[in-house]
Amino acid sequence: MSESTIDRTVLPIRRPPFGGQTKKTLEGSVPDWNQAGHVQPPAGAPNVLLVLIDDAGFGNPSTFGGPIDTPNYSRMAEEGLRYNRFHVTAICSPTRAALLTGRNHHRVGFGMVGEFAGPFPGYNATIPRDCASLPRILSDNGYVTGAFGKWHLTPSKQQGSSGPFTRWPTGSSWGFDYFWGFLGGEAGQYDPLIAENQKLIGVPESTEDDPYYFPDDLTDKTIDWIHRVRAERPSGPWFAYYATGCSHAPHHVPKEWADKYKGRFDEGWDVLREKTLARQKELGVVPADTELPENDEFPKWDSLTETEQRLYARQMETYAGYSENADWNVGRVLAAIEEMGELDNTVVIWIWGDNGASMEGTLTGTFNELTTLNGIPLTPEQQMGLLFKHGGLEAWGGDLLAPHYAAAWAWASNCPFDWGKQVASHLGGTRNPLVVRYPAQVSDPGGLRSQFTHVIDVAPTVLELAGIPEPTRVDGIEQELFNGFTFADSLADANAPERHTQQYFEAVGNRGMYKDGWWLAMRLPRIPWLLDPEALRHFGPGWDPDADPVELYYLPDDFSQARDLAAKHPEKVEELRKLFWEEAERYHVLPILGGLSSFYGVVPPIPKDSTFTYRGRIENVAVGMMPRIYNHSYTISADLIVPEGGAEGVIVAAFDHLGGFALYVLDGKLKHHYSMLGVLEYTQAAETPLPTGDVYVEMVFAADAPKPATGGEVTLLVNGEPVASGRMEHTVPGMFSGYAGMDIGCDNGLVVDRAYADKAPFRFTGEIKQVTFDIAPHMSAEDMQALHEHAQQTLAAHAASA
């Protein structure tokens, strides 16, 4: 079938009519080999490498004037183009969903992140069937497609072996041919829980001599896939989506990378902003008259103690090294493609950040990012004390911490803009660097493009460069056209018309409305790094969003939103406000804060299951699939067979030393260890060894009361007899970890109790017949509802910061 006869607007592309003839036998029959072939892409369709960096700002990479050395990004820019007015949604999954569908994030159910599947169309984390994804379209048009690294588009309750798999990367909703990476919003870079296609394959092995590092492995896997595809299919394009977990917390990077930046941030964030702006002007990526907006929420560097300055400087050194490592790893992918002779036939689209840099580390930064999420406020002194306890300043970036830098570094990272991640009303959250390299079309390598562009424009642009039309029907379902616009012609023409003239923004209640250069900023009057019931109470019943203060900017004259014109142009304010509500209705943005509905009593039905039994070897249970043991009494029991001579090892372990629990046998004795996010730790230990033969052990936690972070009494029992007890004054109220998993019979990845770290994964040497969690709440309906709401709020809060 010739290209002209293929209708690519209806997918899957129909098999061509049989062009041969059939007779009773082969004698006289005329074959048509098109019947046996698969769809071919349009002639000359290029490879596409789509790179997405995580939680990073406009002012981070040196390519855009930032302090972080990004030679590979700069090379792509020098051989391609910089786009300095490219926008994202200000939060993670929404940007990814928009990127991969060409539609606004709420339109495809991703007003919030993937973990949270809410009860409104704009927040259900379910891509509608009338919005086919870019990988699906490319695959149906003959591309080979692979996704690598961070995914973050599958609800946390569906990340287990029981599926459903529709919303996994290779599921029917997204349509990638291959996936390797992690499903959630973040991962420990030293001990990620890896999924491949539709299976969790576990935590990679790591030793002191040969430590594991996810970004390196991610890159190896990507290169391996490209090599294999090309080996088996010498011609034909591929589409690789390389989404590194860097620079999202935890900020993990080997020390030598962080040490490259020693001393480079000693002047602090105020000076960094000034110097970054100066370099940006020199490079020409911002206009010469760009000003720095001020923000009193961030402390002046000079107001800090010397210890604070030294700590915070190290935080940024680590972040910078972590980010440079990402550039280096992308460079390895580029080098592999170049070595294959295919770089010039590859469209490289590289977005530095799915949102602005993250301020979720709070004003101090934190040794464990989960403390903030769990609503555990820590003073600077407490943070430093806990850092001291967990390894000190030298440990920042290593596997003993799950660190996040201070919010003001994020602010400086987003230079020259104000605010950052979550804050969709401002460019600090929404404007990120974009570089495109495609020599076949770029007319002026090293050039700058300033058309207003948005992440939803990427899919239509890719299709145009591939020569593939936008489908009108997929699987028999009429498609909603892309909400974005192609900017393919801007590759060749610096003065190409600006098609994207109007765009709404919304994330966690922060709203923006752009039209023809004007930008109405409607920031939720809330500190972005505080996400708890008290901070959100104001936005419950009775809240009038239109009564909140607004800011108005005219971007052609004010690149960085430094000059508020709201008072001068009330008519423009009203015009854009009205337009926002129209767009919000059109794209399912309503209700505002629909992704945080659990803070206002809108929660899913209380789960009925309260007993969970794990038989045999079940390892690497994702955090979202864990029984919820939080804030009430529960029992973990196990049926064991202990051989003559005794046994040792882990019976059950969940997460790690910065938050988790383990029931294990060491020196023949039953022990329970519980880490309250690394802030407090409790251990109960039997004094006598386990008996041999059939042994029934229990860990009973009797909560003081069904309430968040409740204290309570722990009793360990062996064959029904108490063998140890102890009190846990505070327990984890919301979530132990953002990424680690639970194992039966061992402790994969970083261990819960460092006491057996040298024996990791410390497999149980006896037999575990089964482990049972009994989380039956045994409480009043009112208490149960209250705790359920708390659990949902935690999930939503994590979602907002993931």
Partner: protein, 172 residues
């Protein structure tokens, strides 16, 4: 200045060794100037590779300062890991020492300091007249956590003798 008859034992920990050195120098300077009286002060630093260095006052302290002499062992002996660990957790100083008691302190003499300090950190232990507490607080301003206990001078002498003896044993 009134004499309360009390001695303060302060343990201060530092995230940044050179800031500890800065405080240590400030403390010694105060002693040298006669602004505070001390029974000794020790700086323990642990570099990024885990190497521990101990720096102590010598016999050169000023006229108000107590001559430490062989007092090397006094503060070193106080530097017991359980005490420091509790400090890092933020336990109240008085409670810490109250619970540990003198016997515990003595028992800690043989402990290795590097169990208590993470790489790239430091600690200072100082013993001084309680009346000088304000001046000492000013000198040790870069600490991230400190723990202060009070003992009476009489028992301090007894403690000192025991610690010196144990310290001599350590030297062997």
């Amino acid at each position: 200045m009134s004499d309360t008859g009390q001695l303060d034992i302060q343990i201060a920990v530092y995230l940044v060794p050179d800031l500890a050195q800065q405080d240590f120098d400030a403390y010694v300077k105060l002693v040298g100037e006669g602004a505070i009286a001390t029974d000794g002060v020790v700086l323990v630093t642990k570099d990024a590779d885990g190497e521990v260095t101990v720096q102590e006052t010598g016999d050169h302290l000023g006229r108000k300062g107590l001559k430490v002499g062989g007092g090397v062992g006094l503060v070193v002996g106080l530097f017991a890991p359980p005490l420091l660990a509790a400090t890092a957790l933020g336990a109240a100083a008085g409670a810490v020492l109250g619970k540990l008691g003198r016997k515990r302190l003595e028992a800690g003499i043989g402990e290795k300091m590097d169990d208590a300090l993470p790489p790239g950190s430091a600690g200072i232990i100082a013993i001084y007249d309680h009346d000088d507490a304000e001046a000492v607080a000013g000198a040790l301003g870069n600490t991230i956590r400190s723990s202060i206990a009070q003992i009476d001078k009489a028992s301090a002498k007894e403690l000192k003798a025991g610690l010196e003896e144990a310290s001599a044993g350590l030297a062997g």
